[in-house]
């Protein structure tokens, strides 16, 4: 994989320019104003990183030149040259990390591109009509999406109401969407993707930060659209569409990759214009609580980055730390490296849960199983012929969909505790409930679980004729009789 790094030479101090001579960065004078230079890229280049003066760039022009060079603009990290002025060491780390991110970019398609018109003007754009540029937006893989089973987690999570559930599929209004990435971290099966928050690319970027930075380094999650304060020394920026999308496992995962500290930065002074700061703060609060329970200082994960004062935890890289359903792996990894014996930590932001079924109230209708988007709840038959419902906490994201669909939830048939329960995680899949099934008098196929028959009997006990009709034969035989 060949990654090219181009930097605009405008305003570059002679010392800084000299310091870049032996680096992978190629300085191109006036690149911000004349991005046509991008078309001179070597055809063998697979990925690109740009270091530009953001306030001088006409995004649509740069994007056009990137496409003309055969690359995907949504996969080209653009660093702000002004942020790294006078600090070539930090620039070097940022460039290496951005290169890793670009190299790991899996590609996008037109559904991922949302047109926006500029809300500011450059010297060049003052003399032309406004041109749209394209920002990364989410797209749904309908082959993966579980909307057909009733899942509507993205609908409830989206702060812009860009999603609606319509007859077993998710309708997405890109026009309404202000891409924040919350749908990406909410979807437990990875059906929603956003090129600006690709799990593989993020993991690669943080790995590179840790590998290249000399000494302990902090990873700073920062909103890509909000005004931001500059990062303190020894902190490296990882841009995400909105820090409101950062979950507690995301906030902890960089520690396992070798970062000394993690900060999830709320938007500067004026705050988030969409009111999503509180989401980031809640995720950080839970992560800090978890760390304290494991005997680690809570400031390893923070919203207020200060000077790095700690050394990294022993490295324990895990697979796909930012992928869907990574929470169990991340928390278990953290428990291992800290050698903690903490049993459980509860909290709404845990991103993990434990489902309990009240045997006396559950009718084994298995609607919870059908709705569960991750397969944490599963149904099957035991060797003794009993219908069983089992549960694996590793796959549970505490989405509460099982409670939403349970017809007996009012009787307490099912409940979900939002908790990181290490004993349950270690135990793996366990049986929650079971029942014999009532067999059809004609074909001996199952009619319904016995506990469901009992429940129907409770309700229809005073109508033995109807009860007999419902319980004697299965649906198929009832239709043919």
């Amino acid at each position: 994989m060949t990654v090219s790094v181009l930097m605009c030479g405008d305003g570059l101090a002679p010392d800084d320019r000299a310091g870049l001579v032996d680096s992978p960065v190629r300085v191109v004078d006036a690149l911000c104003r004349y991005p046509e230079e991008l078309t001179t890229l070597d055809e063998a280049v697979d990925a690109l990183v740009l270091v530009l003066h953001n306030d001088q760039v006409a995004p649509s022009d740069v994007e056009a030149q990137i496409r003309a060079a055969g690359l995907d603009p949504l996969g080209v990290p653009m660093l702000d040259a002004d942020e790294y002025a006078g600090d070539p060491t930090r620039l070097g780390v940022a460039v290496a990390a951005a290169s890793a991110r670009a190299a790991a970019f899996p590609g996008s398609n037109p559904a991922h591109a949302k047109p926006v018109f500029p809300d500011r003007f450059t010297r060049r754009s003052l003399f032309t009509v406004p041109q749209p540029s394209y920002v990364a937006a989410p797209a749904i893989d309908s082959l993966v999406c579980a909307a057909g089973d009733g899942c509507d987690l993205c609908v409830g999570a989206c702060p812009q109401q860009a999603y609606t559930w319509v007859e077993g599929r998710i309708a997405y209004d890109k026009d309404v969407c202000a891409p924040c990435g919350i749908c990406v971290t909410t979807c437990p099966i990875g059906a929603v993707s956003n090129p600006a928050a690709n799990p593989d690319a993020l993991a690669a970027q943080i790995e590179a930060i840790v590998a290249v930075h000399a000494g302990p380094v902090g990873v700073l999650f920062r909103c890509s659209r909000g005004a931001a304060d500059p990062a303190p020394p020894d902190w490296q920026v990882v841009e995400v569409p909105c820090t409101g999308m950062v979950t507690a496992p995301w906030a902890v995962a960089p520690l396992l990759q070798g970062a000394a500290q993690v900060a999830v930065l709320p938007c500067a002074a004026s705050g988030c214009d969409r009111g999503l700061d509180t989401r980031a703060e809640a995720a950080v609060d839970f992560a800090a609580e978890l760390l304290v329970a494991m005997g680690i200082a809570s400031d390893r994960v923070t919203t207020k980055p200060t000077a790095i004062t700690t050394i990294p935890l022993p490295g324990a890289p895990i697979d796909d730390p930012f992928g869907p359903r990574a929470a169990a792996r991340v928390y278990a990894g953290l428990r291992t490296v800290t050698q903690s014996d903490v049993a459980e930590v509860a909290g709404a932001e845990a991103s993990l849960g434990v489902v309990a079924i009240e045997a006396g109230a559950c009718t084994m209708c298995t609607m919870c199983v059908q709705r569960c988007p991750t397969g944490a709840l599963a149904a099957g038959y035991s060797s003794a012929g009993q219908l069983t419902i089992s549960f694996d906490p590793v796959d549970c994201t505490a989405c509460d969909q099982c409670m939403a669909v349970c017809p007996e939830v009012g009787r307490g048939a099912i409940s979900v505790e939002h908790v990181v329960d290490f004993a349950a995680l270690a135990a793996g899949r366990t049986e929650l409930n079971q029942s014999a099934t009532h067999a059809c008098e004609r074909c001996w196929q199952p009619v319904a679980p016995t506990v469901m028959m009992d429940r129907i009997s409770d309700i229809l006990g005073d109508d033995p004729a109807l009860m007999g009709h419902l319980t004697r034969l299965c649906l198929a035989c009832r239709g043919s009789s």
Partner: protein, 224 residues
């Protein structure tokens, strides 16, 4: 040297050409079609297409044109994909196949509604053997609307241009964008890496882009 950003009239003109080109590519092939398409594509390539995210799909389309299949090869592929099969065509290029229940008169109802929509836009389907809900007919209709928009921008009739954008927005969201993705996916599974896979892939990417772009332009004009 700096490349000037295109005006909205120029963009509308380019979009008109793209719709027309793609509409032509989805008609039954006749002699010289490939060279005609290649010449039109070469002209459109000069219109700064790299400004739009469908450019990668466009390059695939250009590559398919560069292979220069013969008209006989195209005719065989066209009939196999779009015109014949045991249970009808493998990949019917018509909206009604994807959205209407034929047994209950759904096709006729959809086509009648579509013709009414054409009339409301000041258009009529004449001079073509393809049905009103055929992909090429719908692409040609969008081409006509883009031509109208380009003319409005050129003559500085901004309200008329905004009106035309609204018609395009409605037509795309009511018709073309609602079924073309399913059609393109069907072609992709039936004719992977073939000429018509490249065509429908490019059109699908273009239509996705158009739905977003037209709405964004309307919003920019304060009309959406």
């Amino acid at each position: 040297m700096t490349v000037e950003a295109p005006s909205w009239a120029a963009i509308a003109g380019t979009r008109q050409g793209l719709y027309r080109l793609f509409g032509k590519a989805l008609l039954p092939p006749d002699g010289g079609v490939v060279s005609t398409l290649a010449a039109a594509a070469a002209y459109l390539e000069e219109q700064d297409l790299a400004r739009f995210p469908f450019y990668a799909a466009w390059l695939s389309f250009r590559s398919a044109l560069a292979i220069a299949p013969t008209v006989d090869e195209l005719a065989v592929a066209y009939v196999r994909l779009f015109a014949s099969g045991v249970d009808g065509a493998l990949c019917p290029p018509t909206e009604s196949w994807y959205k209407a229940e034929a047994r209950f008169g759904g096709t006729a109802k959809l086509v009648a509604g579509l013709e009414a929509d054409y009339r409301a836009l000041g258009l009529a389907v004449v001079g073509t053997a393809e049905p009103p809900d055929h992909a090429s007919t719908q692409l040609e209709a969008m081409s006509a609307l883009c031509a109208r928009e380009a003319e409005a921008w050129r003559t500085q009739q901004d309200p008329a241009a905004a009106d035309t954008l609204e018609y395009q927005d409605r037509f795309l969201r009511d018709h073309l964008a609602t079924w073309f993705g399913d059609f393109a996916a069907r072609v992709h599974h039936t004719d992977p890496m073939g000429f018509y896979d490249a065509v429908t892939g490019a059109v699908d990417a273009f239509v996705i882009q158009e739905v977003d772009l037209v709405r964004a332009m309307r919003r920019q004009l304060g009309a959406a």
